[in-house]
Symmetry: C2
Subunit: 425 residues, 2 copies
Amino acid sequence: MSDYHPMWKSLGLDLAAHDAMLQSVGQAYQETFLSQPNRPEGMKYFDFVISEVHGLRIKELLDAKAQGRKVIGSYCTFVPEELILALDGVSVGLCTGGDFALDLVDQVLPRNTCSLIKSAFGFKLGKVCPYIESCDLVVGENTCDGKKKAYEIMRRFIPNLHVIDLPQVKSEAGKGLLLAEYKRFAAKLEELTGRKLELGKLKAAIVTVNAKRAALKRLAALRQADPAPISGLDALLVSQVSFYDDPVRFTGAVSALCDELEKRVAAGQGVFAPKRPRLVISGCPMAFPNWKLPAILESSGAVIVGEESCVGERSTRWLTPENGNSVDEAIAQLVDRYLQIECAVFTPNPTRIEYAEQITRERKADGVVHYSLQFCQPYQMEAGPVVEQLEKDSIPALRIDTDYSREDEGQIRTRVEAFLERLHA
Amino acid sequence: MSDYHPMWKSLGLDLAAHDAMLQSVGQAYQETFLSQPNRPEGMKYFDFVISEVHGLRIKELLDAKAQGRKVIGSYCTFVPEELILALDGVSVGLCTGGDFALDLVDQVLPRNTCSLIKSAFGFKLGKVCPYIESCDLVVGENTCDGKKKAYEIMRRFIPNLHVIDLPQVKSEAGKGLLLAEYKRFAAKLEELTGRKLELGKLKAAIVTVNAKRAALKRLAALRQADPAPISGLDALLVSQVSFYDDPVRFTGAVSALCDELEKRVAAGQGVFAPKRPRLVISGCPMAFPNWKLPAILESSGAVIVGEESCVGERSTRWLTPENGNSVDEAIAQLVDRYLQIECAVFTPNPTRIEYAEQITRERKADGVVHYSLQFCQPYQMEAGPVVEQLEKDSIPALRIDTDYSREDEGQIRTRVEAFLERLHA
């Protein structure tokens, strides 16, 4: 393993804090992932990616920059990576999955802010995220109130911040607004890269991203098998890596993993012993390295077979048509595609529960765990009606509202165990 | 005083709970308002309105309904009452200023919900609001995440609910969205009333509402005088009544009050003894009967001379042009007018702080109290930067985050006293 300290130093990281963080995440990874039994061989690629997530991948980004490409970081699946790729940019998701530098965060954000937003600030203020320090542009988006207003504050620390406005209703006017915003984003990228958005490159980018999403859809569908051929933790990890990795290489690795899982399924082999309660998770995204709830669920004896989440199937369900005849038409097709995302920031948002129920049936799941972050108003507001509807439709549902701290792990485990007993009864 | 119990019963109120609430609010009114020294004679009208706010005013609404007019209730200053009046509707603000039936509210809303939203639900679920029970249509609006998602739940209890979508950015696309939404609202009102929106009646409605706002602006400007001719509590009460009362009658009463205050100012008479610290409040709206913070401020020895708030000057600062040549043009002028409102749901929202500083200077205020409700993400997020900017501009600022409970009154009073001492020093 190379010594990346000079590279991290050149990015302005706090080396001591960063080393401590890497060690802590590495240990959690060891305990949570590497200790799992019977993992697919194909996960070795993702283990390697994680081991080099702040190393080799950052070197790749810096090499790309040296070749004149731009690195664009973002926090949300509403940021259309097709536009970034079409302009030879590198699209990376930014760190939001762990508590860091909370003392600094609490000086600029209200305490009543969700862990995901606090984390985005913590990684920046604590100087432990080589991704954000490599970015030529950071892209925010007006999804929830928390993020929308936090970006105003983030601009102090990240002047090269572009915020995409979003509608709150999937109306014609809302669609028009998003179209205007995607075009404004494209213009910003053209300005940044000094390139012109061309139809051929945009279509190629759409093909690349579609291939990535199709591979992830194939992985999701394989989890229908009973017994499940892959743990929920590993499937989540693959989704998490999708935000960091080179899309073409990633697609190849996911495809190879799927080939292996298909053989497992054909042979009736599962990752765990049979008869485990099967669960679907629905709710807030779980960004790297947020593994708290799935780790509790699977170490309590369940297997997760689907994620109705933005780090999960909400990001991959829909592909974009590849037949646009002009840049404008292709962008309009992107708008149609992205506006299908069933984020709780939209009102109303009825298809989210429909999809949660659909995959619960398709994957033969025994129940749904609704996951919301404390102070995430959109998902906490939807939690009540979603859980109510699931139970009404005879799908047992457990509501977990939590944050990134470890304080409530015992309490959650107790509730999870009671829920799993109910599923067995 | 008439016995309104048969009327309340006919509206389906919980009579025992409603009697208890009236008694509690009446007592608070006695202690907070009627005990104030040296009140203007003109406040007697508002005392009367409050004493009949669930009585005579409700009878007026029911009489209007009997004559074929429709009653439209709303929760936000983004609902254009001009459209309601132009279609012979009666526009009323709905109760959101006090805790009620919290046990029922907690069954349908997350605990992490602001008091204002909880209050809206409490008055409905507790069956103690004759306004909402008189409504032919309730109008919501997608301002914050909390309200946006709460309206989805409210629809269970209030099927006749129309929600106006709002943009999050004051862009051209955002303006287009609001225009489409105001037209959709007008169409909804046309359908409800069976009338057609006509230019003449719309212009007359704009004149009526402008006159109301102009009277309130005149009242606000009179508070520049030192000593202030009216208490902040009484000025707030006038703003609160503006959401309930008949607009023409209300405008007359405010004008009469202003005539009286002008004489006070000319004579150098103040409502309090001179040399009180003068404060501006900036932040969340204080709906009837939420008087907690101003009561603490003025009983601690300050006088409030301005409200940068939606129950306050944010609702009245801008008038609408009265020269529209078509219904479409007049609606577009309304959109331009309403989109100036400096609500924290917009990003960015720089003119809010500018106006807070402007009235602080104009009214010769010694400091600003920033008021946000717990779990109100937009205002809690703006609180930090607003307070910071004020202090940077040498305006002492105190940040209060609270709710409708009385538990923290002692703690707030202590902080207020320390702040007032700082102003004197």
